[in-house]
């Protein structure tokens, strides 16, 4: 899948106090993509979605280059959900499909629970947001970087994982990417630390959009047992478990993920 032309818009929300940068690509009806804790990376899955939709991928406050302190503007997750709703209105998106991965999955679920009429359809890829002592979500923020691949992938040595993990040859780019990831973990961690549970369980019943829950069977960051919990709490939902797959199905098992997502969206 070739990468489409990606443009960028910066939108002021929250009474003009918060600027959110949005990457946009593709054509067709709108699709909002909410990225995981490490920040936005445009991957083949997004390029695939852009072949049928206009993909809007906002960068979480604080994670946009040159605007790191935007994260200090908003203190609570509920306010952040309101800010995202403002962003969607400011972009003029009418009933977008909402797709969220991991941290972005939690945000997508919160958004859909707060504003049930907002999404046309909802796709959650290994979302965080619930907590069971029997299967505690791993603390990715406190995990040493060298142990992250094993936490994220069923098989960190496979080509897709390697392609995502491969550092740049340029030492300065490598250092900048490392610093950006650390800061992105810090920014998103504001709403996920110490335990990524902000009471979402009590709000999921409000979601009315048809919802697809996708989970890697071998997710070591947030166990696949949570797929069933999301399913039980969201009325109109279906679950697809992907075998031999870790926390990032759209990277580790792109074909299967694409297939199940396409089937749901058609």
């Amino acid at each position: 899948m070739s990468t489409p032309t990606i443009t960028e818009q910066t939108i002021d929300v929250w009474g003009g106090r918060l600027s959110i940068t949005v990457k946009i690509a593709g054509a067709g009806t709108p699709l909002l993509y909410l990225h995981p804790a490490a920040g936005l990376a445009w991957d083949p899955f997004l390029s695939h979605l852009a072949s049928r939709y206009t993909v809007y991928a906002p960068e979480f406050p604080g994670t946009s280059e040159g605007n790191p302190y935007a994260i200090h503007t908003i203190d609570t997750l509920s306010d952040m959900v309101l800010a995202y709703e403002e962003l969607i209105r400011a972009l003029g998106l009418d009933r977008p499909v909402v797709v969220g991965q991991s941290f972005g999955g939690m945000l997508a679920a919160e958004l859909a629970a707060a504003f049930p009429a907002l999404p046309d359809k909802l796709i959650l890829l290994d979302p965080i947001g619930l907590w069971s002592e029997a299967a505690p979500t791993a603390n990715w923020i406190a995990t040493p970087p060298e142990q992250l691949p094993a936490l994220l992938f069923h098989d960190p040595s496979a080509p897709a994982a390697q392609a995502m993990l491969a550092p740049s040859d340029d030492i300065e780019q490598q250092q900048a990417a490392a610093a950006a990831m650390v800061w992105a973990f810090g920014c998103t961690g504001k709403f996920a630390w110490p335990i990524p549970d902000r009471g979402l369980r009590h709000r999921l019943h409000r979601i009315t959009a048809p919802t697809l829950i996708v989970w890697g069977r071998d997710d070591r960051l947030v166990s696949a047992i949570y797929a069933e919990q999301f399913h039980n709490l969201i009325t109109d939902s279906t679950v697809t478990i992907i075998e031999n797959c870790g926390h990032i199905p759209q990277v580790e098992k792109l074909d299967e993920t694409r297939e199940t997502v396409d089937k749901f969206l058609l």
Binding site: P68, I71, H72, D75, I141, A142, T143, P144, P145, Q175, A176, A178, A179, M181, V182, W183, A184, F185, G186, C187, G189, K190, F191, W193, P194
Partner: protein, 421 residues
């Protein structure tokens, strides 16, 4: 120069292979502890501090670490209050110096303000109030504060503490992190201007705040003074110049681990393995990601550290460091009274340090050797250090009046241009 006895309360009976199996903080299994081992570690620590108070040190200093095997003081104010009363009852004019009550992790900041006020009253006005942002593992893992919130929480809590100490009328506090309908502390500190110190490990932003606002700044050199001294202290004085304040050595505090014996050879024999225990099983066994979690260090700090981790000196090799590694890096200053005094004087002169916190107990060092170290230092090293800076015009504005200081009030955050909210 002011010279304080600084001690941590390490658990002294960890197994030989500890550093290859465990981390020294957060996850350390409590099953390694025995009742007798814990009791003697804490009891001896208190006795050692009291020996320091009776031996002529200017102050007795401790700090705060939670869920930690190398310093078992979750709240330094408990220890300090015991010392405050004991020393007052014995008529000892010694500063009570809790060095690092962490305001970045404090969810009840008013408690911290009240505790310090109480210590000042119990000690008859001898409190030196140390406050710190807080280490990542402690504020975030042990106390559940999101890393990116630690600094703004510290900033806000600091304002509340300072205001609660000096305000004459009750006031309401509507903070981002805490809200109180009425703040009206009983008691308030006896001292009109409580000498206030911020303790850090070299973050330029913290230093600059101290200079802008008139706080003292403590640098705790764990990573080897010879490796980090020049870069940190040069940075410190550059910050002072930028803030437009005098290079007054009394505004700087420096912590150094020291071991004194009759001769250089004997010092190595007596202290060597205990120093290895201290740094291998203590600081060296804190994983780097627990010292600075994502979000806790400002993005510019992260970039600087990735490019140049020099502020961390020997830290990366500490888990396997030999005694000679520690000495070569300046992690420990060790030897006869002459050797030690000369090295400390050189360092304090070169970098303009007016407050030395001598850490004279460490690791598995048994009670009798800590006592010996304290006594020898007090008798033969301390008198030679004390006269440093006396020939200058500098006044000590960061020390209690009762103990000869001339404390001045600090600037408020607003006046200093700080943004707390």
């Amino acid at each position: 120069m002011k010279v304080n006895l600084f001690l941590q309360a390490p658990y002294r009976y960890l197994p030989d292979d500890f550093e290859s199996k465990y981390e020294s903080v957060c996850s350390i299994p409590y099953s390694l502890v025995t009742r007798d081992g814990m009791y003697s570690s804490i009891r001896d620590f208190m006795d050692e501090l009291m020996l320091g108070a009776r031996s002529g040190f200017d102050g007795v200093a401790i700090t705060e670490h939670g869920q930690s095997s190398y310093d078992m003081i979750p709240n330094p104010d408990l220890i300090s209050s015991a010392l405050a009363y004991m020393t007052e009852a014995e008529g000892l004019d010694v500063a009570i110096y809790p060095m690092g009550r962490s305001l970045g992790k404090a969810r009840e900041p008013l408690r911290a303000a009240e505790e310090y006020a109480m210590i000042d009253v119990m000690s008859g006005g001898r409190l030196v109030a140390g406050l710190t942002v807080g280490l990542s593992y402690d504020a975030n893992i042990n106390n559940g504060v999101p890393p990116i919130e630690v600094r703004p929480r510290f900033d806000e809590n600091l304002e509340l503490v300072l205001r609660a100490w000096r305000e004459q009328e009750p006031f309401a506090w509507n903070g981002r992190y805490s809200q109180y309908p009425m703040v009206n502390m009983w008691p308030r500190p006896l001292q009109e201007n409580v000498p206030t110190w911020i303790t850090g490990i070299g973050n330029p932003r913290t230093m600059r705040m101290c200079f802008d606002r008139g706080f003292g700044f403590n640098y705790l050199s764990w990573f080897g003074a010879k490796l980090t001294g020049k870069r940190i202290f040069d940075r410190m004085w550059e910050q002072a110049d930028e803030a437009g304040v005098a290079r007054n050595p009394y505004r700087i505090g420096f912590l150094q681990t020291v071991a004194v014996s009759e001769t250089d050879e004997r010092a190595e024999i007596e202290y060597g393995r205990h120093a290895e225990y201290a740094f291998r099983k203590g600081l060296g066994s804190i994983p780097i990601e627990k010292l600075g979690l994502p979000g806790a260090i400002d993005i510019n700090g992260v970039k600087a550290l990735i490019k140049d981790p020099g502020d961390f000196g020997l830290y990366h090799r500490m888990r396997t460091a030999t005694f000679h590694d520690l000495v070569d890096a300046g992690v420990v200053v060790v030897g006869s009274p002459d050797t030690v005094a000369e090295q400390l004087l050189d360092f304090c002169r070169e970098y303009g340090i007016g407050n030395l916190h001598a850490m004279l107990g460490f690791g598995s060092l048994p009670r009798h050797l800590v006592m010996k170290n304290i006594q020898l230092f007090a008798e033969e090293v301390l008198p030679r250090l004390r006269t440093l800076w006396t020939e200058t015009d500098h006044q000590h504005h960061w020390w209690p009046r009762r103990l000869g200081g001339t404390p001045t009030s600090y600037t408020t955050a607003t006046k200093a241009g700080a943004n707390t909210r």
